[in-house]
Each structure stands twice: as C-alpha cells, then as structure tokens.
C-alpha cells in the first residue's frame, strides 16, 4: 500500500498549503496511509466509535471553538482520549490558535499538529485533490507517449520496432513528445494520465546516435509534461496472415489499471510512413468524438444503395 510520511508531506507541501508546525519536529515521523480526510468533531465530543483516526484530521473554526468552550479538565481528558489513537497528524485551518493543553498533549503523545493559513473548505478541497492524486493507482509501462493534435497517443510495441523514431518524426511534424521509453500512468478521475518517470527532461535514445534532448533540440513547443492517454497504438511487424482492422466499424480496447481505451494494432513495414497514419488515427478519434464515424457513414450509404438496387431488380422481375 502507498504511504507518505508526515515529514515528507510537510516538507514538500509546506508552501502549497501554507503550513507551519506547531508541535516538535520529532512528532513528524508517522505515515499518512489514507487518501481521505476526517473532521474529528464527533470524536472530540466523545463519540469515538467509527472514528477514522488513520486519516489526516482537519480542525476548523467549529472544532476549535467547541474545544475552547470546554472546561480545562474536560478538555484535557477528551484530547487525551482522542490522541490515544494512532493519528497521523492534525491540521488546524485558518491559522487558528489552539488550546495550550492540546499542544502539550500532542507533544507528549507524539502527534503532529500542523497549522494552515487557508480556510477550511478551500484547504479541504486542495488537500483531497493532492491526496487522491498521490494515492491514485499507478504503474510504469514500456512505451512512448505523444500528444498528436491534442489526442494522447500511447505507442507500444517491442523494442526496436521504431517507437522513438516515430515519436521523433511526429515531433518534426509539429506534434509534442510527453515521454519516451517509460511512461508512468496514473488513474485520475477514471482517466489515464501519462507522464515521465523522472523530471530530468525530455531525453530520448535514438538508436545509432545515443541520447538527445528533445526540448533543447526542437524547442519547448515540441514537448509537454503530462497528457491524458486517449488511444493506444501497438506497433507490430507486418505479417501476411494477420487479421488487421479493415473498416474500423468495431473498436478494440486495451485495459490499463482498470480503465479501457481504444487500441489499434498497426502493422509497420519498411518504407511505410507510420507518423502520417498516427496523425490520421488522432484526427479520426477527434471526428468520432464529435459524432462523425466515417466507417459508419460509408457503410450506411452502401446499405441504402444496395436496398434501392435490390427493390428495383424485384420490380423489374414483377413486370
């Protein structure tokens, strides 16, 4: 299972969530294991059944003003009761100040309290987005991701089939490279997002030449950092007996991390311009999204024609 330590979370997101640490730095060594957040209002009022302690606890004005309304002893007891649970950390919103007993107990019981200057609702939203992205299912696959007319095309196929060369050719034609050779795929909102596995830049290996930097070579307009993947194109060596799609009436699908995207098996052979075909795939995908399906239109016309001719033939026979 994925996790992030409170320390790492605090250090990387300090700026974004305008966080500061209230408790001692030693309280930061726990792990966040859940992508969800919890408002511990009920827990602090004493109802501790079904307390989602493993989540980050967000305390806003309501919780803090409730705690401040309690008598010292009451406050001490309830905080202690809540802090017995293995809570990763608490985040206080809007830069609110907390009861001194709370800070004391958090230090004692080793629970980090962070303070954010952002209002509760806004923080809640941003934090949820960040956590769900962080905990989203992901995997890395062998392939090349290019943005062709705004359509994310994942090129796959055996080593040496020409994915990188194809990406280069597409970049030359004004399309954009996302990443070559290894694509990190994350599921976000039921969509597959692809990006590079590292942030070194847009390097690629060209057989016989070595490493090149696509962004330096072709300019910043030739690259982008991430892209939703719309279509997978599997490049494969041409085989005479292979059953290639001829009309495009039926779609094949590939499943990646539980998300289905159309897949096209594209035979490549020497002298064949694969880049043009990939651009055609992208444009046809856009047309289909706009409701125009060329294969359907053509076959529809043919069927009408056949019907007409057939009934003409019948009426001739009747005469």
């Amino acid at each position: 299972m994925k996790k992030i330590s409170v320390k790492e979370f605090f250090q990387t997101k300090k700026k974004d969530f305008s966080l500061s640490l209230i408790t001692r730095p030693t309280t930061l060594d726990k792990d966040i294991t859940s992508e969800y957040l919890n408002r511990p209002g009920l827990a602090f009022s004493g109802y501790l059944e079904r307390f989602s302690y493993q989540r980050i606890q967000v305390l806003g004005e309501t919780e803090i003003s409730y705690l401040q309304s309690l008598k010292d002893e009451e406050l001490y007891n309830i905080i202690k009761e809540v802090f017995v649970y293995d809570i990763p950390c608490l985040i206080i919103t809007k830069g609110l100040s907390i009861p001194s007993q709370m800070e004391f107990l958090a230090n004692e019981m080793n629970i980090a309290i962070l303070s954010s200057r952002i209002p509760t609702e806004k923080l809640y939203q941003h934090l949820r987005k960040y956590l769900s992205d962080y905990f989203a299912p992901s995997k890395t696959i062998h392939g090349t991701l290019v943005d062709v007319y705004g359509v994310g095309i994942l090129l796959t196929g055996k080593s040496g089939i020409g994915k990188s060369e194809c990406a280069l050719d597409l970049v030359e034609r004004g399309q954009r490279l996302v990443t070559d050779d290894a694509v990190k795929i994350t599921v976000i909102d039921e969509m597959l997002m692809g990006t590079s596995t590292n942030d070194y830049g847009h390097f690629m290996e060209v057989r016989g030449v070595g490493l090149i930097d696509a962004a330096k070579m072709f300019g910043i307009q030739a690259v982008r950092r991430n892209k939703r993947m719309d279509v997978q194109i599997e490049l494969m060596p041409w085989k005479d007996n292979m059953d290639y799609e001829r009309l495009g009436l039926s779609d094949n699908f590939a499943e990646i991390l539980g998300v289905r995207i159309p897949i096209i098996y594209l035979p490549v052979s020497p002298g064949k311009n694969v880049s043009v075909i990939i651009e055609v795939v992208a444009l046809n995908y856009i047309l289909k999204r706009y409701g125009y399906d060329a294969a359907y239109e053509y076959t529809q016309k043919l069927q009408e024609d056949l019907k007409k001719k057939s009934s003409m033939r019948n009426s001739e026979i009747e005469k």
Partner: protein, 88 residues
C-alpha cells in the same frame, strides 16, 4: 487462371460485413484475385474495391483468380457465397 460466375444470394447484398469476409478470405491466398461486375473490375483483396461494386441481392459477379493457389481461393469463395455469408 480460373473464372467463375457467382450470384449474390443474401438479401442485404454485398454490404460491409460480407465484403470484409470476402477480403479476409482472399488475402489468405497468394493468387491475384479480381471481381468483375457490369463494367467494373476491382481488386478482391481491397475492402473499398469490393464495397464499390455495391453488388445487390440477385446480381451476378465474375470472380477471377490467378496464381498458384487459385483453385483453393475459388473454392473458398464458392462456399462463402453459398453460405450467404451467414445471413438470410
């Protein structure tokens, strides 16, 4: 070279699905394969070609196969047309 006259026996005629079946069957063979209808002559291994014929129910085609496996190609075509492409 073998020439063979054959009739379209399925009600819907040579629409997209039967055309695909014809082309897929034909491409398995090495022989040249042409289909003639009226004044048209098309390559039987090309899907657009076969659909261009717009061969309706009851119309007649001439199949022309030329090559080492021409007999097998024609035989498979005869069976395919006789089966009405699995339609009515």
């Amino acid at each position: 070279m073998i020439r063979k006259r054959i009739m379209i026996a399925n009600k819907l005629g040579m629409h997209a699905r039967p055309a695909t079946l014809v082309v897929k069957a034909a491409t398995k063979y090495r022989s040249e394969f042409k289909i003639l209808k009226d004044d048209m002559e098309i390559n039987g291994k090309s899907i657009m070609g076969v659909m261009t014929l717009a061969a309706e129910f009851g119309s007649e085609l001439e199949l022309v196969a030329d090559g080492v496996d021409e007999e097998y190609l024609i035989k498979e075509m005869e069976e395919l047309f006789a089966s009405k492409f699995g339609e009515e």
